[in-house]
């Protein structure tokens, strides 16, 4: 039984996006594609324990899903469009070369991440159509009620159909802009897993970080020469490598300086470093994700917090702030400046960001830490209080509370 479960889970992970993409291409309808794929997997759960796992599970699932889709169209189109129906019956999809099938999945990603869809709809649709997550799983991950998440996905699919959002990879000229949108969707998924925003959810949602990495790997396989795709993958791997060290046994956030570096995942770090080196060697000007990956590569190269090359980190932030002059980048840069030039210099920078970041917990947490290091305990306590009030993540709240209570 466990073998069947294993085979079905494996097929779901490897084949879901391929099957949905192939059906979407043939029938031009995401609803039919998704429902038929889900039915094919449900049939596999019934049949495989009795008949055994087929020699080619992917082909079995694709054929079954195609039949389910045709059944559905036959049921639904009884009242209209007999001709289209007949055409579908005889359209024996010729076998596609592997390249074209991969291209299919890429089209599916770009359709789900179309700029005409709201960002939250893009995230939900990508997890559903490309990642194969169920609606309850996606709702749970983003702390949204299941019917609301269902409506969000339905609405997005309706818009794709009614407005005729094309099922296609954008033209070369549009590609850089569109890839950027896809990467932000993937990074949002990763970040929600890495530091969940809800107070009631697990502080780290491994299923989301690993799904984001899997989808980014998929994208990298299809766009191997895109530097930002490589950069985002490297960034995720280098952050994911530290996942188990980031939360203590008691559920408290462990900051970089206190993490047990021996428990970092060496193979993820090695892979992340290889990607960063590959990008450096290319000589091309790095984008945002490549710089963030390089910063994380410096962190993960140090055996100890004291060994960290802070001047290089500050230099990388200087580069990043030119591309992305947001106050959050300025805040992160200031945290690095504190290690290089001392807390006083950093505090002066951070205090200038107060107007825009007043509602951002990390601003108050960084400020509290600098004030603590400067021995200004009373002000530090006020800042910790504010950070605790704004933090949504339980591990972060536990960490901030302990630091506040340690103040003299």
């Amino acid at each position: 039984m466990i073998d069947f479960r294993h085979a079905i889970d494996g097929a779901h992970r490897d084949e879901w996006a391929r099957i949905v993409a192939a059906l979407a291409r043939r029938f031009g309808d995401l609803d039919i594609a998704e429902e038929a794929a889900a039915e094919a997997f449900a049939t596999a759960v019934e049949r495989w324990p009795i008949d055994g796992v087929p020699p080619n599970p992917g082909a079995w699932l694709t054929t079954t899903a195609q039949r389910k889709a045709i059944d559905r169209i036959r049921r639904e189109s009884r009242r209209e469009d007999k001709q289209r129906q007949a055409q579908l019956m005889y359209d024996d999809d010729p076998p596609q070369p592997v390249g074209a099938i991969d291209d299919d999945r890429l089209r599916l990603i770009f359709t789900c991440c179309h700029p005409a869809l709201a960002m939250e709809a893009r995230v939900a649709l990508t997890l559903r159509m490309v990642g194969g997550l169920t609606v309850p799983e996606i709702a749970r991950a983003f702390l949204v009620q299941e019917p609301a998440m269902g409506r969000r996905i339905t609405r997005a699919k309706t818009k794709i159909k009614a407005a005729r959002i094309p099922y296609r990879v954008p033209a070369t000229g549009d590609l850089p802009g569109r890839v950027g949108g896809v990467l932000s969707v993937l990074f949002l998924i990763f970040n929600e897993g890495y530091l969940a925003t809800g107070a009631d959810s697990d502080p780290v949602r491994h299923e989301l970080t690993s799904e984001a990495i899997r989808l980014t790997r998929l994208l990298r396989g299809m766009l191997p020469r895109d530097g930002e795709v490589a950069g985002l993958l490297a960034l995720m791997l280098l952050i994911e490598a530290r996942r188990t060290a980031r939360v203590s046994a008691t559920g408290e956030l462990v900051t970089l300086d206190e993490q047990d570096r021996g428990s970092w995942d060496g193979s993820l770090i090695a892979e992340g470093h290889r990607l960063v080196m590959e990008r450096l060697a290319s000589g091309a000007a790095p984008g945002r994700y490549q710089i963030l990956a390089a910063i994380n590569a410096v962190h993960t190269s140090a055996r100890d917090m004291r060994d960290t090359d802070w001047s290089q980190i500050v230099a990388l932030y200087d580069q990043l702030i030119v591309l992305d002059p947001s106050p959050i980048v300025a805040l992160n840069r200031a945290v690095a400046v504190a290690e290089l030039d001392g807390p006083e210099v950093a505090l002066a920078i951070i205090d200038r960001l107060g107007d825009t970041l007043a509602r951002y917990h990390a601003y108050h947490a960084a400020r509290a830490d600098l004030l603590r290091r400067l021995g200004r305990s009373e002000e530090s306590r006020v800042a910790y209080d504010r950070a605790i009030e704004l933090a949504g993540n339980s591990a972060e709240t536990a960490y901030l509370t302990r630091r506040r209570d340690q103040l003299a």
């Binding site: 009614a162 407005a163 005729r164 959002i165 094309p166 296609r168 549009d174």
Partner: protein, 109 residues
């Protein structure tokens, strides 16, 4: 597939001469590209009359059916294969008339 592209405006000023000639040039390109169906500008909302003839007698009232700061100043109807094509046309239209536009597909029945 046809798309309705409405031009959103929030003032009483009409299009300037420069805007008018940019719109004319844009319209020529739309025709040449085979996307042209129809386009028109509308007079100000203050010129509108609302008629309700659902009851016994038609009731005529002065003014637009809804008072908003923003209103429909004109529209294009484009023929386009898909939304990406319509969005490209609408983006150029927005640039030409120097106003925001909304793209909506016609319902397919």
């Amino acid at each position: 597939m046809q798309y309705f592209v409405s031009v959103i405006h929030d003032g009483t000023d009409l299009a300037t001469d420069d805007e008018m000639s940019a719109i004319d040039a844009f319209n020529d390109r739309v025709r040449a590209g085979g996307h042209w169906v129809f386009a028109a500008g509308l007079a100000a909302p203050s010129t509108a009359t609302v008629i309700d003839n659902r009851g016994d007698e038609p009731v005529i009232s002065d003014g637009p059916f809804v008072e908003t700061k923003e209103f429909l100043a004109g529209f294009w109807i484009f023929e386009a294969d898909d939304l990406d094509v319509a969005l490209r046309l609408a983006a150029a239209g927005s640039r030409a008339c120097n106003r925001r536009v909304e793209v909506r597909p016609f319902a397919v029945l």
